[in-house]
Structure formats: structure tokens, C-alpha cells
């Protein structure tokens, strides 16, 4: 009996030692981390790819168009045959108009619904409304664009008589609806993470729920809320299909929101669908516009990142 037992133990050890898979196992153990690391490298390569393409092609563009004309020019007329003008300000103006309208729509509604969901709503209401917001966030932007063009614009034209078919107002409102779920859900997260003891303290002092929400929870969650708004702005700046369907293609450097506009993204779409020949100035111009757009959104994302890191309240 005893010897048998000993035999078994040694045989297990020998099994491990002489295992036929031992060598392959060793190789797999060493190779897998390297293989997985190379998968992780793809995302770094993507970033480098983006930055290098944009810089490289934009550099080509600035060989043909002076950088001061590009940065400070108030006219964007790339298709005017003899003397095309490439001043980016009208495109930036168009983008900012849409973004501003979107923010005016999305911020009050987004934060108000976040307050309702986190401070007033019971568990059941919250569980019904959150998935619906997720559906709203999952609607493709092309569908929103169609909605802006065929529903919101005609409706606004009834209210504002001078409104053009393509304008800044309608896509602005719809972009606002698009970014609303993002603000609501991120702000709600920030407000829900404010500890209950702070609410209870205020309630015990005789504050109403409204006062608790505005004077206690909102300030405590402010960094998270601001970060959500900044992220939403970044999304609005980069939004493409809504503005290119409902915004039009007339870059103008003014403050009019009832007239046709063009945003940075819509210009890239216009050139892409119009098939500008490879190597033409217009072809390179989409990269310079894309680069400007990239800088705008990158700065916004970094600000949001900074705010949520730097000002995170620790309870």
C-alpha cells in the first residue's frame, strides 16, 4: 500500500516534468504576452497614424496655401475656379453656431433630467428611463440628420418665416438632442456618487429636496457635470451627418443661424462625395480642415479628462 502511494506521487511529478506539452507550454507562456502587447500597440499605431496623416497632408496643403490666409481668412471659397480662397474662419463659425445651439438645448434639459433621475425619481422610474436614453444614444446620426431635414426644419419654418431649408438652427437643435443622453447619463453618475450622508445632513437641517439638489448635490458633483458637458461639446463639434444633411454648404463668417451654413465636418463630406482628384489643393484641404477639427476635439477631450481628474471630490 505504502509503496503504491509513493509511486503515485513520484509519477505525478514525473508526469509534470516529462510532460510532452512542457516545451510548447513554455513557448506559449512567453509568446502570449508579446502577442497581446502587439494587439495593444495597434491602438497606439492608430493614434500615430491619425496624427501623421493629418500633419503630413496638411503640410502639403500649406505648401500651396499660406498658413496666415488659412488661419485668419474670412472667406472659404475652394471651388471658385481661378482664385480659390481657403480661410477656415467661416467653417469654424458654422461649427461653433451648431455647437452653441446644441449646448443651449442639451445642457439645461440634460442636467434637469439628471437631477430628476438622481434626486427625485424612484428606482422603478430610473430603471425605465435609463434604457430609453440608451436607445436615444444608439440612434445612428444619419437618422437624426433625416429627422432634422424632414421634420424639425419644416416645423421651425412654421414658427420662423424667414428660415431657409438649410440653416444652423435645425441641425443645432437635433445635435443637442443627440448629445443629451450623454450629458444626462454622465451627470447622473456624478450626482449619484455624492454620498447620501450629505443629503441627509441637509434634509435634517430642514432643506427641501430642491434645495438639497441645487445647494448640496450639484456643487458636490460639479466637476463631473462640467466634464460631461465638455465631452458632449466635443461630440457636437465632431458630429458629421446631421450637419451635412440639414446645415447646407454655404460657409459664412457671421452670426446668422437662420441661413445656410457649412461646418468643418460637412465640408469634408462635401469634398469626399464630390470626388476631388487626388493631389489637388482641394484634396489636401480636407486634411487641413480635419486637422483643425482634430485639434478642437482633442483639446476638449483633454480639458474634460483634466477636470474629472483634477477636481474629483473625494468623500
Amino acid at each position: 500500500m505504502v509503496s503504491q502511494k509513493e509511486n503515485k506521487t513520484t509519477s505525478v511529478q514525473q508526469l509534470i516534468a516529462n510532460s510532452r506539452n512542457h516545451k510548447t507550454k513554455k513557448i506559449v507562456e512567453k509568446a502570449m504576452p508579446a502577442l497581446l502587447f502587439s494587439a495593444a500597440l495597434i491602438s497606439i499605431l492608430t493614434t500615430f497614424g491619425i496624427v501623421f496623416t493629418l500633419i503630413f497632408e496638411t503640410f502639403e496643403f500649406f505648401k500651396r496655401v499660406s498658413i496666415t490666409d488659412f488661419l485668419f481668412g474670412t472667406q472659404w471659397l475652394p471651388f471658385s475656379g481661378k482664385e480659390p480662397l481657403f480661410g477656415i474662419l467661416p467653417l469654424i463659425a458654422g461649427t461653433l453656431k451648431v455647437t452653441l445651439i446644441a449646448v443651449v438645448v442639451a445642457v439645461p434639459f440634460g442636467i434637469a433630467s439628471a437631477i430628476y433621475l438622481s434626486e427625485y425619481a424612484n428606482e422603478k422610474t430610473r430603471r425605465t428611463i435609463k434604457p430609453i436614453l440608451e436607445v436615444l444614444a444608439g440612434v445612428p446620426t444619419i437618422v437624426y440628420g433625416f429627422f432634422a431635414l424632414t421634420f424639425v426644419t419644416p416645423m421651425l419654418q412654421q414658427i420662423i418665416p424667414g428660415l431657409k431649408l438649410f440653416n444652423a438652427l435645425s441641425p443645432g437643435i437635433v445635435v443637442g438632442i443627440m448629445i443629451l443622453p450623454m450629458i444626462t447619463s454622465l451627470s447622473e453618475d456624478a450626482m449619484s456618487s455624492v454620498p447620501n450622508s450629505m443629503r441627509e445632513g441637509a434634509l435634517a437641517l430642514g432643506a427641501t429636496k430642491f434645495e438639497v439638489a441645487i445647494k448640496v448635490v450639484l456643487p458636490a458633483a460639479l466637476s463631473g457635470i462640467i466634464a460631461s458637458v465638455v465631452l458632449a461639446i466635443s461630440r457636437a463639434i465632431g458630429e458629421t451627418m446631421i450637419v451635412s444633411l440639414a446645415g447646407g454648404s454655404t460657409p459664412k463668417f457671421d452670426l446668422d443661424v437662420t441661413d445656410s451654413i457649412q461646418t468643418m465636418t460637412a465640408y469634408i463630406v462635401q469634398v469626399s462625395t464630390g470626388d476631388a482628384g487626388y493631389g489637388t489643393t482641394i484634396y489636401y484641404s480636407i486634411y487641413s480642415v480635419g486637422f483643425t477639427l482634430f485639434i478642437f476635439t482633442l483639446v476638449m477631450n483633454l480639458i474634460a479628462h483634466y477636470i474629472s481628474k483634477r477636481f474629483r471630490e473625494v468623500y
Binding site: V28, E29, P33, L36, F37, A39, A40, I42, S43, I44, T46, G49, I50, T53, L54, E57, F109, A112, S113, Y116, L117, E119, Y120, A121, I129, V135, L136, G138, V139, P140, T141, I142, V143, Y144, G145, F146, F147, T150, F151, L180, K209, F210, L231, S234, G238, E239, T240, M241, L245, T265, I268, V269, S272, D275, G290, L293, T297, L298, A304, H305
Partner: protein
């Protein structure tokens, strides 16, 4: 002697209590705004599109005439596109997530990878289109093919899949890993046979949601220059193709009113595909989600 005069307290409180009630209603109305918008949007599209949505619409190719226009090429093209995007993005995404969660030590390089992924998630999709146009279409000379568009879309949704997979892997309790090591398993055996199986529901849910985003994404396809009016189906990965959102975009911007209804019918098809994918994701989440 009474310290508190009830009538004064009530007088002062009434205003604040009414205030609370009024604002509660306002906050609630703001919440319903989003719901009302979603309802209007869906109602509009269903009423506009339902009459055009029939069997012929699904089996016809694109046409200059609204009553003959169909969505066959786009529907098949979108399926081909998913055939590239799903394996590429899931393999790369899950691989990256395993590396970051199981292998990556805390050092500068890995911190950089993490920050880089969160920044990539904030890059507008149209910029990915410019990347795809330069790298895949022109430099690699893949042309306006399924492969070029598929790679572009994969990179676009990669950050979403990585984050979802990271969360799923992190949710596997470390006791399970320790038990596996205790049995003499190696690190990779533990990952492959213990961690991944436990994390798969979460990974799948996140991946399907990311893929449904890729199906609806239009901007990168436009920039790459995917054609719209095709009278044939793709037969290999280097074929030209068109996709659902491209087709819808083309119909939506046509001036003839009839095409609005065709576009709405196309949107109905797209939304049906999306809802189908979302319900599969929710099903997986509910059925397989374990709580430790």
C-alpha cells in the same frame, strides 16, 4: 412658553415647499423631453417608411426611380462589412484588454497606452475616415473595398470594445485566478480557461453594442468614398460595396420628395437590424451575467 411659532414656520416653509414642487415638475418635464423626441422620431419614420417597406424593397437594387429603389446591395454590403469588422475588432480589442488587465505592469508605456485609448474614443469618426482613406485606400492600395472600410470601422470601435472587455475581465474575482494557479495552471492557461470563459458574456455584450454602432456609422464610409448606386453584390473582400447608412444618406439628400419615403424605409431596415442586435446584447447580459 413656546419656542417655535408654527404659523410663522408654515408661512416661511410654504413658499419653499411650493418651489420644490414646481421644480420637481419642471425636472420631470425635462426628462420627458428626450422621451417625447424619441417617440416623435420613431413615429415619423414608421409612418413615412412603412408603405415602402415590402419584399421588393428588400430584393431590389438601387434605382433612379423611387418606386423601384431597393436596399439589397446595401443590406448585403453591411453584412459583409460586419464580417470584417467583427473578427478584427473583437480579436484586437479583447487581446488589448487581456494585456492591460492581466500582463501590463504599472509603467509609463502602459499608462500611455491607457490614456491613448481613452483619447482615441474621443476622436470624431470622420477623422477615422481620413485615416482610412490615406492608409488603407491609398497607401495599402486596398481601394474602396470591404477590407479598407472594415479596417477603418474596426479601428473606430476598438476603444469601445477594449473598455467593455477590460470591465468584464476586471469583474472576474481574483479568487478564481488564485484557485487556478493553485491547481498548477500556468498564467496563460488560467486566462484562457478561467478568466475568459467567465468574462465572455460581458465581452459579447459590449462587442455587440460596439458593432451596432459600426453598422449605423456613416461619416468614415463617406470619406473613404464608398459608392452608392451598385447593381451587383460583392463577391470577395476586395469588392466594391455599399452599406445601409450610405444608401440612406444618398436617398435622404435627393431633392425629389418620393425619395424621403424610400429613405425612411431604409431607416426602418437599419433600425430593425440595430434593435435586433441590441436585444441580443440585452439577452446575453441578462441570461449569462453572474454575480460573484
Amino acid at each position: 412658553m413656546r419656542y417655535i411659532d408654527d404659523s410663522v414656520v408654515m408661512k416661511r416653509m410654504t413658499k419653499r415647499i411650493t418651489f420644490n414642487k414646481v421644480w420637481k415638475t419642471l425636472f420631470f418635464l425635462a426628462t420627458t423631453f428626450a422621451l417625447v423626441m424619441l417617440a416623435i422620431l420613431l413615429y415619423r419614420i414608421v409612418t413615412q417608411g412603412i408603405d415602402y417597406l415590402n419584399f421588393n424593397f428588400l430584393t431590389n437594387f438601387a434605382s433612379r426611380f423611387a418606386d423601384k429603389a431597393g436596399i439589397k446591395a446595401a443590406l448585403v454590403g453591411s453584412l459583409w462589412l460586419m464580417g470584417v469588422v467583427a473578427p478584427v475588432s473583437i480579436i484586437l480589442g479583447v487581446g488589448t484588454a487581456i494585456y492591460l488587465e492581466e500582463y501590463a505592469k504599472k509603467n509609463r508605456l502602459n499608462d500611455f497606452i491607457r490614456m491613448n485609448i481613452s483619447n482615441l474614443a474621443g476622436v470624431p469618426s470622420i477623422v477615422f475616415g481620413l485615416l482610412g482613406l490615406t492608409i488603407f485606400v491609398r497607401m495599402m492600395e486596398l481601394g474602396k473595398s470591404i477590407l479598407a472600410a472594415g479596417f477603418t470601422m474596426s479601428l473606430l470601435i476598438l476603444p469601445v470594445i477594449i473598455v467593455a472587455a477590460q470591465e468584464a475581465i476586471r469583474a472576474v474575482p481574483s479568487e478564481q485566478r488564485e484557485a487556478s494557479y493553485g491547481m498548477g495552471a500556468t498564467k496563460w492557461q488560467t486566462i484562457l480557461r478561467v478568466v475568459l470563459p467567465a468574462a465572455i458574456p460581458g465581452i459579447l455584450t459590449g462587442s455587440i453594442l460596439a458593432l451596432s454602432r459600426a453598422i449605423g456609422e456613416t461619416a468614415p464610409l463617406v470619406v473613404i468614398g464608398i459608392p452608392v448606386i451598385l447593381q451587383f453584390l460583392p463577391d470577395n473582400l476586395l469588392s466594391q460595396f455599399t452599406a445601409l447608412p450610405m444608401q440612406i444618406y444618398d436617398w435622404a439628400k435627393r431633392p425629389q420628395e418620393a425619395f424621403q419615403y424610400v429613405a425612411a424605409a431604409g431607416i426602418l431596415v437599419l433600425m430593425t437590424v440595430l434593435l435586433l442586435m441590441n436585444s441580443i446584447a440585452i439577452f446575453i447580459r441578462n441570461k449569462f451575467q453572474k454575480r460573484y
